[in-house]
Symmetry: D2
Subunit: 348 residues, 4 copies
C-alpha cells in the first residue's frame, strides 16, 4: 500500500489529542481522517489542528466508515473492549491505549475474537516498547552481549501523587508498564507475584499506598523486581535493567546536555511521561503506520500482551491485599502471537 | 500551505540518496517529487525507493520545473554555487549541502544575490544545528543557566583516515562543522585563528596532517579551541562545550544503553557521522520542510553562515601554512540575516 | 592517648594478613604488636612484613598480654564469639570480622556481656560503613538533600561462584552486608523478609541458588530490595541507593579513568571486594585506631549491629526455605548502642 | 630504614599547616619533628596539633639539625631556592612546594647542584602526580589501552578570581600544574607555546586576564591544549585527557554519590583544590616518606620537572605578551633524571 493511511481517532482528551497531533505532524505516510469525542467541540478543535479530519458523531460510525483505514482508541478505559471488538468486526487494524479491557476476562475475549479471525489486528499502547533506551536494551540482549536474561529490574517514578491513591490503582495505572517491560525484555511469563506497599507521607489519605515494591518470578527461572513510586517529587524517571548470565544492560540516562553550575554537575530530569516518552509515542505511531501499510507484524504489544498485563496486575492486587505471594496462571500462548507471525494485512 | 511540499533532489550519491530516503520515510508534509543525478540509473533506483519521483535529465530543468516547490542539493561541491543561483533565479527555497561554494568569494555572491531578492531562500546543510545534544546546549545557554557564553570547546573525531590527507582538507571537510558550531553557539564571529597540526602515524603520507588543534578568537571577547582528529581509531565522536560566566554546558554523551560485561561498564561509540547524526539529518529536513511550508525562518545555517564558514576555513589554511596567528576579516552581517527576519516564504 | 596503639591480630589468613599489612603500611598511630595463627609459619611471615610484631602461640595469651592494647579478630567464624568474650573480660577493644558469632543467640550473649561492662568495646568488620561512596550517601541523607529515607536498594554482585553454593550461604556470607547497609542508612530495623532465589546455570549443583532477591520491610514504614548475585561473571559490583521523600541518592560508580577504545567508552569494573573496598578496609582500621586512642565512639558496626545482622539473616534463610514472608522480631535497642554514647575508652 | 622518618616543616601558613597535619594524621612511618615559621605563635600552634614537634627559630637551623631527617618547604616562593640549596648542602631529602625557584635560572642552579651531588634529593610539590584519577590515566597509557599518547587536553578551573589578576600570574600559579601534567603524561618536553587570554567580566581590573587558552607543541610530534579559568564561578574542576593513537583516556569525574532532587540528577563539584586534591596531598607525602625511608626514587616531580615548569611558563608569559607563538628551548635532560635512576637514599 503506497497511499497514505487514513487513521480515525476515538477520544480527543489529552492523550487522544496528543496522538492525533503527533501523527499529523511527525508521521510520514499517515493522516488523521476521522475523529470522535463525546465533546464534539473538543473533537473539532483537534481536527482543525490535524489537517482535514472529519468529525464523527458516533465512534462506531467512525470505525465502520469506509474512509477510515485504521483506528486509534484513546477513549475512557471502560469503552476500550467494545470499540476494539467493533474494529475486529470490520477487519480494521486498531491501536488501543492500555488497558485493553477493564478485566482480564474482557481482554481474553478480544484475544479469542482475534484468533477466530486469524489475524493480529490489535495493538496495545504500551509505548516503552518504542523508547530508544528500552530498544537498545532489547538489542543488546539479542546480540548476546550479556548472555541469557535472568533478572529484570524496573524503576518507575512519577513526580506527583494525588492526595488519595490506593495501591491497586498504582498497580493498574503505573506498574502495568513495568510488568509489560519485564515480560517483553525477558521473553517470559510471570508465575508468581509478591507486593509490599507503603504510604510515604502523613498528608496522604490513610489507604493511599504511593510506593510499591513488586517481586516477580517468571518462567525460565527468571526473576523481576520493580519499584513503583508515584510521589517521587524530584521528577519523572523510568529505567529498566536486565541482569544476564554474563553481564547486565540498563537503559541509558537520557542526557542531552550536561550542565555545571552552582557547585553541581547535572542533567535535567523530565517532568512527566509525556516529556520522557514523546519520542516513543511518535515511534509507536510510525511503527504502527508502517506495519499496517506494509503488512508486517506490529512490533509493539499485542492483544495477548494486553491480556497478560491484566492477568498479572490482578494477581498483584491480590498479593497487595493478602500480603502474601500469589501464583499467576500461565496459559499457553496461542500460536497467533508468536513473534514470527505476520498479521496478514487487510486489503486496503 | 497545507499541501505536501514537492521536493527535488539533485545528487543521488550516498548523501543525496540518504536525504531523499530520510525525507520520504520520516518527514511528514513533504515528498520527493524529482531527482537528478548524472548517473541516471542511480537516480532511478533512489526514486523507486521514494514513491513516485520523476527522474530529470538535467538539474536546471529540475529546478525550473513547476512541479518542484523546493530543492535539495547534494551534488559535487564544485556544482553547488551555480545550482543555488539557479534556485534563487526561480525564487525556490533550497537546502544546499556544505560547502555553499568552493571559495569564499563564490559564497559571497550568493549572499549578495539573496540580498537583492530580499528573502532568505538558502539553507546550508550544517546538520549539527539540529542535533538534539547541540540544541540542548543552545537551550541551556538561552536559559541563562551558565551565564553569557565565553569559550567554545569542540571535539571532532573521525575513526578512519585515508592514507593521504593534507591538513587543508581536514579544515574544509571536518573543522568547518566545528567552526560553525562555535559561531552558532557563541553568536559571535571569528577574528583570529591559530592552527597546529601533526601526522600521527608513520604509515600516512608525509604531508598528511590528521590531528589538528585550532585556537580561535571571536568578537565579544570570546575564545574557542577545537580538536579535529581524523584517525581516532576508536570510533566517531563529536562534542561541544560552552564555558559561560557562571557555569558550563556540554553535549551529553549519547547513551541508549549501558552494558556491564567483561570487567567493563560501557556504552557504544558510533562508527561514523551517518550513525551519530541520523536524527539531526531527519530533523534538519523536517525543520526545512516546516519552514518552507509555514513561511517561518529556517532555523539552520543560512547563506551568511555558509559564507563565513569559508572565510574562516580560508584563514585556518593560511594559519596552518604560516604557523602563525592569522586575522580574519569580519564584515558586518547584513540585516537580512538577523535571526528575527522572516524569509517571506514564496507563494506556493 | 598520644602513644602508638599496639594491636594484636588473631588470624593470619588472607583477610588477617591484609588487615595486618594495611594497618602497618597505611594507618598512622598504630602498629602491629602481636600476631597469632595456628599455622605459626604463616604468622611469622606476616609478622615479618609488619615491623617487629611478636608471634604468640595462643590467641588467649595474645589477648591477655599487657603489651597488647587492642585486638583484631580475623580467625575462622566459629572462633569469633569466644575470642570476643575474652577481649571483653580483659577490657580490651576488639574489631571482629563478621559474623560476630555463628548464631544470633551467640551474638546476643556478647551484646549482654558488653552491657554489663557498660562500655562499647566491640566493633564488627562490616567495612561498607567506611566506603567513601557509602559515606557520601549517608552524608547526603543527613544533609536533608533527599528528605527522609524510605527505600533502600542494594546491588551486590560477585564475579565467580563455586560450583556448589546453597542459598543460605549466599545470605550469611554476602547478603549480610547489604542488610547491614539497609539498617545503617535507613536507621531502621527489619521487620519482615521475603526471598526469591534461582540457580542461573545448569552447570551448578542442583541446590545452588546463586541469584537472590530479598524484599524487606523495616520500621518507620521503610522498605528495601536487595539483589545478591554470586555469579555475575562481568566483575564485582556493589551499589546502594536510598529513595527519600523528595529525591534519591546513590553510591557513585567509582571511575578513576574513562577510556575510549574499540567502539566503546568504558570504565573498569573491579575484580573482587578486596580491590573494590581496599580504601574502606584501611579507613575502617584508621577509624578504629582513632576511636580507641581518642575514646570517641567507633563509627562502624557495633555488637548490636552484628547481632541484628544474624537475626535478619536467620529470618531470610527461613523465608528462602518456606517461600513465604517471614516476620523478624525487633527487640528494643539497648541505650548503650545509641549513636551518641561514648565508649569510655579503656585506660591505656 | 625501619624507624620513623623525622620531618621538619618550614612554613606554617595554610599550606604548610595542612601538610604538617596531613603527615601527622594520615602518614604511617613519619612524624613532624620540627617546625619553623617567622610567626612563632603560628608555628607553635601547628606543632601542638602534630605531636611533639620542636619549634625552630631559624629555618637553616632546622635544616641543619641532626634530629631532622628530611625537610618539607612550604614557605613564601621567594625563599624556596635558598632553602633547597641548604638542604642539598646537608644532604637532606627535601620536598619543596612549587615553584622550585622564582626564575628558571634559579631552578637550573638547583638542578646543577643536585647533579654535582649525584643524588636526587629534591622533590617538587606538583601534587596531581598523586591524584588517583591522574594516576589512572598514567596506568591506562602505560597499559597500551589507547596506544601512544599524542595529545594532552587539560581543564583547570578555579571558582573565584581576585579583582586584579594579570595573565602572567595565572600562568605561573595555575597553568604550571597543567603544563606539568602534559609533560608528565606525554613523557615529552614542550617546544612551542601559543597563548590567548581574555577578561571575562567588566568588573575585573583592565589588565586582568582570567581565562586563558594555551596551545603547546611537544617533542615526539605531540600537542597540548589547556584551558585555565580562574573565575569559573560554579566550583573547582581539573581534568586531563590523553588522546592516543587508538583511543583516549580521561580522568574520571570524582563522584561519591549521585543525587536526584529538584528536577536534576547531579553530583557535587568541589569548592577548591584543597577539597579536590586532599587525597593527592596525603598520597604525595606518603610516597615521599616511603621513598626516603626505602631509598627508592620519589615518583613525584623532580628538580628537573620544577626547572622545566619555569622554562615553559616563562615562554607562555612571553607568548601572552607578544600574541605570537614562542619557541621553548629543550636542553637535554641530565641522566640523573631518568626515571630508572635510584636516588641513593642518604644514610639515616
Amino acid at each position: 500500500m503506497e497511499r497514505t493511511l487514513a487513521v480515525g481517532v476515538i477520544g480527543a482528551g489529552s492523550m487522544g489529542a496528543r496522538h492525533a497531533r503527533n501523527l499529523h505532524q511527525y508521521v510520514a505516510g499517515a493522516q488523521i481522517a476521522g475523529l470522535y469525542d463525546p465533546d464534539s467541540g473538543r473533537a473539532r478543535e483537534v481536527a482543525a489542528s490535524c489537517g482535514e479530519a472529519t468529525v464523527f458523531g458516533d465512534p462506531l460510525a467512525l470505525i465502520a466508515d469506509s474512509s477510515i483505514d485504521a483506528v486509534l482508541i484513546a477513549s475512557p478505559d471502560a469503552t476500550h473492549a467494545e470499540l476494539v471488538h467493533a474494529c475486529l468486526q470490520h477487519g480494521k487494524p486498531v491501536l488501543c491505549e492500555k488497558p485493553l479491557a477493564v478485566t482480564a476476562e474482557g481482554a481474553l475475549k478480544i484475544v479469542q475474537a482475534e484468533q477466530e479471525i486469524g489475524r493480529r489486528l490489535v495493538g496495545v499502547g504500551l509505548m516503552r516498547r518504542f523508547d530508544p533506551q528500552h530498544l537498545a536494551v532489547e538489542r543488546a540482549l539479542a546480540s548476546g552481549a550479556v548472555g541469557r536474561g535472568l533478572l529484570f529490574k524496573g524503576v518507575h517514578r512519577n513526580a506527583k501523587v494525588p492526595q488519595h491513591l490506593p495501591g491497586e490503582v498504582v498497580i493498574t495505572n503505573s506498574a502495568v508498564h513495568d510488568i509489560d517491560s519485564a515480560r517483553w525484555l525477558l521473553g517470559q511469563e510471570v508465575t508468581q507475584v509478591f507486593v509490599s506497599a507503603v504510604r510515604t507521607r502523613d498528608t496522604l489519605s490513610a489507604d493511599t499506598r504511593d510506593m510499591l515494591l513488586l517481586q516477580l518470578q517468571l518462567t525460565g527461572g527468571c526473576l523481576a523486581t520493580i519499584e513503583v513510586t508515584v510521589a517521587a517529587d524530584y521528577g519523572y524517571e523510568v529505567s529498566a535493567e536486565i541482569v544476564g548470565v554474563s553481564g547486565t544492560v540498563t537503559t541509558g540516562l537520557p542526557m542531552d546536555a550536561v550542565i555545571r553550575s552552582g557547585r553541581k554537575t547535572f542533567t535535567d530530569v523530565p517532568a512527566d511521561w509525556l516529556e520522557r516518552f514523546q519520542e516513543a509515542y511518535i515511534d509507536e505511531l510510525a511503527a504502527w503506520t508502517h506495519s499496517v501499510r506494509s503488512g508486517q507484524a506490529f512490533s509493539g504489544a499485542s492483544a495477548w500482551d494486553g491480556y497478560q498485563a491484566l492477568v498479572v496486575t490482578d494477581a498483584c492486587i491480590l498479593a497487595l491485599k493478602s500480603a502474601a505471594a500469589v501464583a499467576v496462571p500461565t496459559p499457553e500462548r496461542p500460536a497467533l502471537y508468536d513473534r514470527a507471525v505476520s498479521p496478514e494485512v487487510p486489503s486496503l
